[in-house]
């Protein structure tokens, strides 16, 4: 996988890759985050800033706590210590969306796709006409071509995950979290869904945090690639990748993409080999 220019990438990684740690427009600030599971320390005094309006992918060795990180940021898991603020506000004060890996278990099978998307608006106490208007607007905005009168189990895996993403977006979140959203899909559907996610991101410019176990995907979709070390996790690198959007299959063979991916792979391998 390491291609023709590994040494060049490693000689001056930060300068060449660009660094997402030096961003002006911050959105999320994480300070002193700590998390232990039983005897294992996953995070110890972990600091991180996430830039606004970027698509940030999180990549790292198995079990380093990629999902744990976004689950703590999104409040799914409690944290042992530390502070996470969104523009200085706590999670309870903001609107956010979360997309689970397992769409089959995350959607409500007793509701039609439309009602699934509408559900968070119902929780917000919006009246029915307003809810319908907002779902319709989202469907039109994203140009979604799914029959939303069907039940989730009548849709394909990709369509179900698209419904999940719409359910997360309908509240107009300030930040969107996706936990390995495409890893349960076949390759064809994964490619389609990457394109969909990119389009959604271009349309909404919502700060998006995507956990991925596929380096190609992590680089291809992202503005910033957060590379985590083995646990206790720290930021091994926070790589900037600013290829123009929309990115296409051709992007995958561009020199810049190949270089950034090679650099990320090298950082990753270095972290994996550490004992």
């Amino acid at each position: 996988m390491l291609d023709a220019k590994p040494t060049r990438a490693s000689s001056a990684p930060v300068a060449e890759s660009g660094d997402c740690r030096r961003q002006d427009a911050l959105h999320v600030t994480i300070r002193g985050l700590s998390k232990r599971f039983a005897d294992t320390t996953i995070y110890e005094n972990f600091d991180l800033d996430l830039p606004r309006g970027k698509l940030i992918s999180v990549f790292g060795p198995n079990g380093c706590g990629k999902s744990t990180l976004i689950n703590m940021i999104a409040g799914l898991f409690p944290r042992d210590a530390g502070e996470i603020l969104f523009d200085g506000k706590p999670l309870a004060a903001i609107k956010f969306g979360y997309v689970f890996q397992n769409y089959r278990e995350a959607l409500f099978p007793w509701l039609r796709a439309f009602d699934n998307v509408e559900y968070p608006l119902k929780l917000m106490g919006l009246p029915k006409p307003e809810r319908v208007r907002r779902v319709d607007a989202l469907v039109a905005h994203l140009d979604v071509k799914i029959d939303l009168t069907l039940y989730p189990y009548q849709l394909s895996g990709g369509q179900q995950q698209l419904v999940s993403i719409m359910r997360a977006l309908v509240v107009e979140p300030e930040i969107l979290f996706l936990d390995e959203p495409f890893s349960a899909l076949d390759y064809e559907m994964t490619l389609f869904m990457r394109a969909q996610l990119q389009r959604i991101f271009m349309e909404t410019a919502t700060t998006t945090v995507l956990v991925s176990h596929d380096l190609e995907e992590a680089v291809y979709l992202a503005d910033c690639i957060l590379l985590l070390s083995r646990r206790p996790a720290h930021v091994a690198d926070f790589v900037h990748y600013d290829a123009a959007r929309p990115r296409t299959d051709a992007t995958l063979s561009e020199a810049e993409f190949v270089r950034v991916k090679a650099h990320c792979l090298e950082v990753f391998q270095r972290e994996v080999r550490k004992t």
Binding site: L76, F100, N102, E105, F108, P109, P120, M124, Y153, R167
Partner: protein
């Protein structure tokens, strides 16, 4: 070949009737003990349309439905309550499992003392048995609600009460129907046994018992088949209700 698949269950029925006819015809079994299918169904037809069998059938249906309804009204809310706290359920699990394993028929004398001879005893013993089965299933349905789905509702900002009403209850519905189907089957068994012995004058159990005492074999088989049809019908009814209201079950 594929078009024939829906008719496959008929094969077993025809097979049974053939073996039965053959057994009667060859006198393999004493015709006094085993009347022909025709004689049995004639007895069933006249019994259901004009004789006592129809009335007994209705009586048994009433008792079974009443006991299942009482069981459901008590056990479903209780099951939800117990299931929503795993600690609570674990602390009463042994008691539930113990009485669920106790043959309900062993409780007849106790209930006789409590309620006297009559419908109240029959219905309450059956309700007791069915309630434990339903309770156990509902509680497990609630406890085994998909964690991701509950988390999804929480992350969207649902209050604990909303999570219960919008997610957990619906999640537990398929298992609740399993409980209801098992419960109604058990209630029927208990009712029929009770009708045989506890000072009864009517009901399918009484009909089977009486026909046997009078050595009226066609009537006895007819009553047995009527009980079988009732059990099958009740199960089917719950299955159809389930398919209508829990359309996502198993998908």
């Amino acid at each position: 070949m594929k078009r024939l698949t829906p008719y496959l269950p008929v094969v077993g029925v025809i097979g049974l009737l053939l073996v039965w006819t053959l057994a009667v015809w060859t006198r393999l079994i004493d015709p006094v003990l085993l009347p022909s299918p025709a004689a049995t169904f004639r007895a069933m037809w006249t019994g259901m349309t004009s004789g006592k069998l129809g009335m007994d059938f209705v009586k048994t249906v009433e008792r079974t439905i009443a006991s299942t309804a009482i069981a459901a009204v008590i056990a479903i809310p209780l099951g939800i309550l117990l299931g929503s706290s795993e600690k609570l359920y674990r602390s009463v699990e042994f008691v539930i499992d113990f009485f669920r394993s106790t043959p309900a028929s062993a409780m007849f004398p106790l209930f006789l003392v409590l309620f006297g001879v009559g419908d109240r005893t029959k219905i309450s013993v059956a309700a007791f048995g069915a309630a434990l089965v339903i309770l156990f299933n509902v509680a497990y349905g609630v406890m085994n609600a998909r964690k991701t789905r509950i988390l999804a509702a929480k992350v969207m900002g649902a209050s604990p009460l909303r999570v219960l009403s919008d997610v957990t209850l619906l999640e537990s519905l398929p298992q609740t129907f399993v409980g209801l189907r098992n419960g109604v089957s058990l209630a029927l068994v208990i009712i029929v046994v009770a009708e045989m012995f506890i000072g009864s004058t009517d009901g399918l159990g009484q009909r089977v018992f009486e026909a046997q005492q009078l050595f009226n074999m066609p009537d006895m088989y007819a009553a047995i088949f009527a009980a079988g049809a009732l059990g099958y019908g009740l199960n089917l009814m719950f299955l159809l209700i389930e398919r209508r209201f829990v359309h996502w079950s198993g998908k």
